[in-house]
């Protein structure tokens, strides 16, 4: 009977029971043999499948880094594409182990959803995209415009705040998925498409004539995007948090996917600590001593990940800006590994 009750509870209570009972996410992942990673339904640069079905993007690479640290194999991942409004339920119910889906860190999400943000993978801000033919040069000229937006996002609320604060009227048309939103914008249902600025550049590539559209200069919000894990499993929280820090630290120390083996042989005390020949930090996380080596070999350091997916080496060609290292004028900063 207990089993029947459990099954019913699972079904009826949105599957909140089974996962909540055991907080051993690392053990669950190891037993299962794959990491379950919640990603977007297709946002170039962050998480989107290529023509062969391989997922790429910054958010995807974070999951690959976690999988590499656990299994020494960045392919042992099951990607679960989630819409903006389904993402938190999927994390709460245990359908995904980590939600790495361009999600903005806000206090309400951090406190009321039963989940925690582990860090910031990308510092973003909300912007607007319009057709060049409208001859608009500033977001302040958008009075009475129709705006397409994806539902269940901070974007939707920032939009309401911005137009209210500037005493402008607008019409909002909200869609459940990013693709529907872009399609409606392209069909002319609205004058303006709004989302995080990185997303605007990414989505512009999907349009038939990207050059007919422009991103307005205004950035109207702070959108720190980061991965989330469930409450109640501090070890797992630490693993996800330090995987990101490992990527940033590697860039800071000049460790790349190409030179990681040579760097590991050097007699530099900091390199020895980070790369595992000195101390047992990886084991304290529940991983192995060479966890950083595994991560960097799989995905490269943070700079490599950025360049490959959204930076100079990608069609998006976004500047590092806020996402540069702290000692190069940006905000990316990792606590020391010692």
């Amino acid at each position: 009977m207990k089993r029947v009750t459990l099954a019913l509870t699972l079904a009826l209570a949105a599957g909140l029971s089974a996962q909540a009972a055991d907080a051993q996410t690392l053990k669950t992942v190891k037993d299962r043999g794959t990491l379950s990673c919640g990603v977007s339904q297709g946002l170039p640069g962050f998480s989107s499948p290529d023509d062969k079905g391989n997922w790429t993007g910054i958010d995807v690479d974070l999951c690959r880094a976690i999988a590499a640290a656990i299994f020494n194999d960045p392919t042992k991942i099951k990607f679960v594409p989630l819409s903006a409004k389904d993402r938190f339920t999927a994390l709460q119910s245990g359908e995904v182990d980590v939600l790495s889906r361009n999600t903005t860190w806000t206090i309400s999400r951090d406190t009321s959803l039963g989940a925690n943000f582990t860090g910031v993978t990308y510092y973003d801000g909300q912007g607007f995209m319009v057709k060049k033919s409208l001859k608009v040069n500033s977001a302040l000229e958008l009075n009475s415009a129709s705006v397409c937006v994806q539902t269940g996002t901070t974007t939707e609320q920032n939009l309401a705040d911005y137009f209210k604060a500037n005493n402008m009227k607008y019409e909002v048309i909200a869609f459940a998925t990013n693709d529907e939103t872009v399609k409606a914008y392209e069909a002319g249902r609205c004058d303006v498409f709004t989302t995080d600025q990185s997303g605007l550049y990414a989505n512009r590539l999907k349009l038939a004539n990207p050059n007919d559209h422009m991103v307005l200069p205004e950035i109207i919000s702070k959108e720190p995007l980061g991965p989330m894990v469930r409450h109640g499993d501090d070890q797992w929280f630490d693993i996800v948090k330090w995987t990101l820090f490992a990527l940033v630290t590697a860039e800071e120390l000049g460790i790349t996917s190409k030179n990681v083996d040579e760097k590991a042989k050097l007699e530099n005390p900091e390199l020895k600590r980070v790369l595992g020949s000195d101390g047992n930090f990886g084991e304290q996380l529940g991983l192995t001593k060479d966890w950083v080596v595994r991560i960097v070999k799989a995905t490269g350091n943070y700079g490599e990940v950025f360049d490959r997916n959204v930076g100079a080496g990608s069609p998006l060609a976004i500047n590092r800006g806020l996402n540069n290292l702290w000692n190069k004028g940006g905000l990316q900063y990792a606590p020391p590994i010692r």
């Binding site: 938190f88 959803l113 209210k164």
Partner: protein, 401 residues
Amino acid sequence: MSTEARKPPPQIALKIRRALGGKSGWNGIVVQFAFAAILGWIGYEIVSNTRANLENQHIAAGFGFLRNNAGFDVNQTLISYTGSDTFLRVFVVGLLNTLVVSVVGIFFATVIGFIVALCRLSPNWLLSRVGEIYVEIIRNLPLLFQILFWYLAVLAALPNPRQSISLLGIAFISNRGLVIPRPIGESGFEPFLAMLVLGIVVSLGLRFYARRALFERGQVIRIWPSVLALLFGLPLATMLVFGLPFTFELPQLKGFNFAGGSRIIPEFVALTVALSTYTAAFIAEIVRAGILSVHKGQMEAGSSLGLSRGATLRLIVVPQAMRVIVPPLTNQYLNLTKNSSLAVAIGYPDLVSVFAGTSLSQTGQAIEIIAMTMGIYLLISLVTSAVMSVYGWRVSRSLGA
């Protein structure tokens, strides 16, 4: 030696036994209670388990969030709504949007369904083929696909607001929707409205009186001239006394969009068209089956009385067919209402979209919001069923069945 008269067994106990235990008697009652207890226990386990887990994970619970500010906007609101209203208000806004699309959809689905059914039954070869093709195409394509088709087809075909199609310079069609002049009440509005209502009430009373006279005394009373006078003459007369009841605010192109006037958004049009044409295909089949279920002798009897085909259908066949039509028709009405939740695909702000979608992801309170949404859909469906049952009962009663 006298024999005592046999007492009848205690009636109340017998009734309880029969009501609860059925044929199995007292054993049956034990089973019933055991079953109820198990159900209750399962329900209790589910609720308490969920509560415990929510608490363990520190997920906020309860309905307190309904008083929080929503902070997002909705593009079609039947009641006033701004981003600084509460989630409860969002719930009502979404519910009204669902209801309006359902009611309008049901109306058009019924009208189109009856017309298509009559086409299919028509002796005219072309008409009946057209009806058949309509039914076979529409009911065999997925509804979501049809909604997207209407939405994207409507959008693609329409120009942007600056090149909008003008209808006599007062209404405009563009890919932002249909903008029409909005009536604004003037001083003469209230008397006008009062007279209109009075006219409708008195007309209905007259109709009731005329029908009574027809059925009870066989007396035919001509009421349409007085109805015409009541419905048009009376309000016109008040207009002459009190002045114009309302003036129209004309829409004008201003910046990106039209300012002023009322607007019907394309999402609403696409959803209504898709829902009503789709459901109409099913209603047409139900109506056809209902009409065919009436013996063809009834039709012949009508003809032999000298009634036209239309009059026979209207006065003799359809009233009898309604008994068969109403129950499955109710199902279609319920389907249409529930299918309106597909609105989320084209950005029409119905209950599922703004409440079970946006509000859910803004607050993260899945269990409360889904429970409320399920509850309200259940309520809408039960009310619809109840209304249709009463109607069905009246139809049967009026036929003396």
